[in-house]
């Protein structure tokens, strides 16, 4: 019996090895597809699935698929984790898709696997990762530093250009948040010398992630640095948490708040005025832009400066190397929030 079990294990291992071995040239599958109907398969791999932001991107994907007839699908891990994302991309490569639209959790960590994708003839478009190397193009809704500066501008206007502030990020390990923060701080130093950081950047993740974590951290920051006059929340979940802490501390109207979020997440606070203005870019539009770009690349269309991807904010993109930048950020206030109901 023991031998039988050993045999079975060996058999299984060999079947797996045999599967791995053999000739690894089967892109013929794709070619066939192409000739048939010129319908491409595009995989969208966000940081994770199951939260509002990426659900919104999926909306854009579906819209694009419906308009063009290409197949777009979203797959992702249930947690924003680089290791998991690598696995998902491995799977997607193995499926022989035509293009991968990826929003990296940790851009550096994806380089090898994206290289592999490209080696397999798959078009790779990334988003929120301006320095990504192994991609055909990276597409950004804006320049990270400029977005950071923009957030700072919003905050400074509200604060009257004076006082202490604190920057909260989703996690200290999140690259885009770090870049925005760097842009914001740089901008403040240059333009608003009367403002200062009360403390180092804080992260909401260590406290259990999400809104509850943001709330707890914000509350502690307010208690520790009573002189604080403003917050910038980089993560989607930061703004509502901070707003809640401000309200509870009885400081609504006294402590300003700028940051990234979605209307659906902070609607209440926009309505009651704790948050005056939030910024974001529409993930659905970004998703469509990525798909549109991917198709253009597959079809061999020349990508040049000023290209129009056919979606708002990406009508005239600037090209720098393989970085394509649109101007797609949106500021939402109480007045126009009804237009962005997601």
């Amino acid at each position: 019996m023991k031998k039988l079990s050993l045999l079975l294990v060996l058999l299984l291992t060999f079947s797996m090895l045999a599967g791995c071995g053999g000739t690894s040239t089967t892109p013929s599958n794709n070619e066939e597809n192409k000739n048939e109907a010129k319908k491409y398969v595009i995989a969208n791999v966000p940081k994770m699935v199951g939260i509002a932001w990426w659900d919104r991107m999926e909306v854009g994907n579906k819209q694009f698929a419906k308009e063009t007839g290409h197949e777009v699908f979203q797959v992702g891990a249930s947690k924003a984790d680089a290791a998991e994302q690598v696995k998902v991309i491995e799977d997607v490569i193995a499926q022989g898709v035509d293009a991968i639209n990826v929003i990296p959790v940790s851009p550096e960590a994806l380089e090898p696997v994206l290289k592999k994708a490209m080696d397999n003839g798959i078009v790779v478009i990334s988003h929120e990762a301006p320095n990504q190397e192994n991609v055909n193009y990276d597409i950004e809704a804006f320049r990270n530093k400029e977005y950071g500066a923009h957030l700072m501008e919003n905050l400074a206007t509200e604060m009257g250009g004076k006082g202490g502030y604190c920057i909260m990020v989703g996690a200290l390990t999140m690259a885009s948040h770090q870049e925005w923060a760097a842009g914001a701080i740089e901008y403040q130093k240059a333009k608003y010398p009367d403002m200062y950081q009360v403390c180092d950047m804080v992260e909401s993740m260590a406290q259990g992630g999400s809104q509850e974590g943001s709330y707890k951290v914000a509350k502690e920051v307010i208690a520790s640095y009573p002189e604080i006059k403003g917050f910038i929340g980089m993560d989607m979940t930061n703004a509502p948490g901070i707003a809640m802490a401000i309200e509870e501390a009885g400081k609504a109207g006294e402590i300003a708040l700028a940051g990234t979020s979605l209307v659906s997440v902070v609607r209440d606070y926009l309505e009651n005025g704790t948050i005056k203005k939030i910024s974001f870019w529409d993930p659905a539009i970004a998703g469509r832009a990525m798909c549109s770009l991917a198709v253009k690349v597959i079809e061999g269309e020349e990508i040049k400066n000023g290209i129009d991807l056919g979606v708002p904010g990406f009508e005239e993109c600037t090209l720098e190397g393989n970085l394509l930048v649109g101007s797609a950020w949106v500021d939402v206030t109480k007045e126009n929030m009804a237009d962005y109901d997601f």
């Binding site: 071995g21 891990a77 947690k79």
Partner: protein, 354 residues
């Protein structure tokens, strides 16, 4: 009476029942394989897919093996991922330096070797730390490793300021991203680790003592076993496995970061338990672990192909674990009935004689 032949028959029978774990898992594995093959034949049954699964399986595999070893003692090691990242980060500091200096030839290989050694040394040190606290203080290992997870991850964050360290020499990256004899190198590593663990568990004194200590700590002490030493070694082994996989992650992702793979802890527990490891200690089987890994990988890749999100996977994993448990229960119950009826025949004969 045909006494001589009887024991042999019985041995075979009990072996069969012993290996029921394996047969049950095998059934599940085959079922999942067939299901996925039927649903997505063009995608699932491809060389590409198997190669891709070969690359993916190693990480969870190493963590599950480490978890399994600690589970044999009746404990849990929650700090594995922390150890893995920390040793990856420290090795990355060395390798990144090599990259920046554009070392080549012998110097490069020396620094790669040094990175490996340092990573493993960090793994040993972390494991030793866990082992020391667990074996000398007698506090629940789960809490100890929860504390050290925070500590190790924290040190990683302090060292990197939370950012990723990236860019390593291409020679180093080869090891995580290429195949050897058409089989991904990480898979070779995993196979090596499985065999090594199997040998350690079944063919060494340490493995024997490990299982015994897990099933009865005090009795092992009375049998002259080296309890503390064995506990210590187990955590060190877990640390080494974590460090090696930390290097693999480093190579595969060309970067090191303090928060990679935080999901693995839970998955490793799940995988080990599905692989017939007794969470109360004393029993584990590497062949079952391997099957459990393969099954989870089939499911994971299969769900990607069915274009179902990560949550379907979690749902399916949960369902599968409970199914496996339930079937185990039913089998045990039937076995009990059977063994009792065998017993009854025997005693009746005996009573007739008397």
């Amino acid at each position: 009476m045909e006494k001589p032949s009887e024991p042999k028959k019985i041995n075979f029978l009990s072996l069969l029942t012993k290996d029921q774990d394996f047969l049950r898992l095998m059934t599940i594995t085959v079922a999942v394989f067939v299901a996925m093959s039927l649903m997505r034949p063009k995608l699932f049954l491809t060389v590409n897919n198997f190669t891709s699964m070969g690359y993916q399986i190693a990480e969870l595999g190493f963590f599950s093996l480490a978890m399994m070893m600690v589970m044999i003692t009746g404990g849990r090691d929650l700090s594995m991922v922390g150890i893995s990242n920390l040793s990856g980060i420290i090795a990355a500091l060395v390798l990144h330096n090599a990259y920046l200096k554009e070392l080549s030839g012998i110097n490069l290989w020396i620094s790669i070797a040094a990175a490996f050694l340092i990573a493993i040394a960090v793994g040993i040190a972390c494991g030793l730390f866990n082992g020391l606290i667990v074996s000398s203080l007698g506090v629940p290992p789960m809490l100890v490793t929860l504390g050290t997870l925070n500590l190790f991850t924290g040190i990683g964050i302090i060292l990197t300021r939370g950012e990723a360290i990236s860019k390593f020499p291409a020679e180093f990256l080869y090891f995580g991203n290429h195949t050897f004899l058409s089989v991904p190198i990480p898979l070779w590593l995993l196979i090596g680790a499985l065999i090594l663990t199997g040998v350690i568990l079944n063919k060494t004194r340490y493995g024997f003592e490990l299982k015994f200590i897990g099933s009865n700590y005090i009795a092992s002490l009375f049998a002259g076993m080296r309890n503390k030493k064995v506990l210590m070694r187990t955590y060190i082994y877990s640390g080494i496995l974590s460090a090696i996989i930390g290097m693999e992650v480093l190579s595969r992702t060309d970067s090191a970061k303090a928060d990679f793979g935080t999901n693995y802890t839970f998955q490793a527990i799940l995988c080990a338990v599905l692989g017939a490891t007794n969470p109360n200690g004393g029993y584990a089987k590497v062949s079952c672990m391997a099957l459990s890994l393969v099954t989870l990988q089939f499911l994971s890749s299969g769900f990607s192909m069915l274009r179902l999100g990560g949550y379907f996977k979690e749902f399916a994993w949960g369902v599968m674990l409970l199914l496996a448990l339930t079937s185990n229960y039913l089998i045990e119950k039937r076995k009990l009935k059977k063994s009792l009826s065998i017993y009854s025949n025997k005693t009746q004969k005996k009573s007739l004689k008397a």
